[in-house]
């Protein structure tokens, strides 16, 4: 499992754009928002937590189809399927690799981008915490979507139609944590719900993803 994780990470780094692309997209989205709604500081600081969450979510979505696509094309996914490693393990590792290459940089970059959106000082910690808790769920759910569309030509659009509705609960609770944190309110309830969604999807969804992947490899 560790070998697979290292292989995926190495591929992502050496193929170029593994870390960079998602981050660049995140940056561009956050830069575009003030152009769209105007540079007024009060408005920006009010919507900053939500914008950061949506930016992270879209950046995450953008890189989903790469989770399985390359391995599918060159056949290494078939090899992995016949390996002694259970499919659930492969899927979890793939999700983890996706989170390390996409989710983690987003989490770390979010406070820096918060400066651009004049996020209130109390918000930085909670944006960081909510993204750190929420992005694993985004990766795991996204892996399920990627597994569903792996064999399809032009699966990208379909992937977003399938995955975005599944992202709704995570987005709601994550953005709520960030918003409440920024406004200095109590964050415990949405934070617990967000943690519940993250750990719940992490525990259960790999089984669905593995089942789907097995069907697609049949």
């Amino acid at each position: 499992m560790i070998a697979l994780l290292l292989r995926d990470l190495r591929l992502a780094v050496r193929a170029g754009g593994g870390f960079g692309l998602g981050l660049a997209f995140f940056l561009i989205v956050t830069v575009l928002i003030p152009f769209g709604v105007g540079p007024e500081t009060g408005l920006l600081s009010r919507i900053a937590p939500g914008v950061l969450w949506i930016g992270a979510l879209l950046a995450c979505l953008l890189s989903l189809d790469r989770i399985f696509a390359l391995d599918w094309e060159d056949g290494s996914l078939d090899l992995l399927a016949t390996a002694p490693l259970p499919m659930e393990g492969i899927v979890t590792i793939k999700a983890l690799a996706h989170w390390i290459t996409t989710g983690l940089p987003l989490v770390l970059a979010a406070p820096a981008l918060g400066v651009l959106l004049s996020l209130p000082p109390s918000g930085y910690l909670w944006v960081l915490v909510s993204l750190a808790l929420g992005t694993p769920a985004l990766s795991v759910i996204g892996t399920f979507g990627a597994a569903l569309t792996v064999g399809l030509k032009r699966g990208g659009l379909l992937l977003s139609i399938l995955v975005l509705p599944l992202y709704v609960p995570t987005l709601i609770f994550g953005a709520e944590v960030a918003r409440r944190g920024a406004e200095g309110l109590a964050v415990q309830t949405p934070l617990l719900m967000l943690a519940g969604i993250s750990f719940g999807t992490l525990a259960l969804l790999p089984f669905a993803s593995a089942a789907v992947l097995r069907i697609n490899l049949r």
Partner: protein
């Protein structure tokens, strides 16, 4: 004699052919009676005026939009467990019907909301979760049409239906948490004191029966069509091979 006999496509088509005319006629009868009764022979509400009558379309459509998804969930489970093709095709047949019911519920709700709430749309939990349900229907149908192999498509969409159900429920409670409601509470729950008045209640029941029958008729018809389409394709494939 068990219910699984109807998993045989021939038997399914033969039986539904016999039932279908009755169900369709009953659906039309119920809908006509219910709607005419509702629209012309019930009093206007003292606060809402004539707009109250949209309830006869809105509530049954909303009810069936949810029930259609539940039916798809059950059919998907049957497909996964027992691998009856009719079941998978029935789930496929139900999806567009359910999606249209969702649209009807949203559209009539908007038409009613404009004069009553003063807005076409509000980010109310019920409205929002219905919109999300509609997105789930869209994704489900898109996945069905994207995959060429029938069995793979049936497998993948059933799993999507299962996972989607869990997430639809999660979203339902998440949006409840996210925003306070403008929508009134349940108008039909059996265990509550506060319900719609009897004058509106009886025609509404007839309308609901009409929508249920309509759904059954449409799903039977569409499932038959799917079975026949698949059979035609199999015949064509066989012919082209020889």
């Amino acid at each position: 004699m068990s219910i699984w006999e109807y998993a045989n496509p021939v038997k399914f088509i033969r039986t539904t052919d016999r039932i279908l005319p009755w169900v369709s006629v009953a659906a039309v009868l119920c809908l006509v009676t219910g709607l005419v009764w509702g629209y012309f022979f019930t009093p206007d509400d003292y606060r809402q005026g004539a707009t109250v009558k949209i309830i006869y379309l809105h509530v049954p459509a909303a009810l069936m939009a949810i029930n259609a998804w539940i039916m798809m969930l059950v059919a998907s489970l049957i497909w996964i467990v027992r691998r009856h093709h009719v079941s998978a095709l029935a789930a496929r047949a139900a999806a567009p019907v359910g999606a249209i019911f969702t649209v009807i519920a949203l559209a009539t709700g908007a038409l009613w909301g404009q004069p009553m709430w003063g807005t076409w749309w509000a980010w109310d939990p019920r409205l929002t979760s219905f919109l999300i349900l509609f997105l789930f229907y869209l994704g489900y149908m898109a996945l069905w049409s994207a995959i060429e192999n029938d069995d793979t498509a049936a497998d993948l969409t059933s799993i999507l239906c299962l996972v989607g159900s869990v997430f639809a429920l999660l979203s339902r409670y998440a949006v409840l948490f996210w925003n306070q409601g403008l929508h009134q509470g349940a108008s039909l729950s059996l265990d509550k004191e506060e319900n719609v008045a009897d004058v509106f209640w009886y025609p509404l029941l007839v309308c609901i029966a009409g929508f249920v029958l309509l759904f059954v008729a449409l799903v039977f018809l569409r499932t038959q069509t799917e079975i026949r389409a698949r059979r035609t394709r199999a015949l064509l494939a066989r012919e082209s091979r020889t």
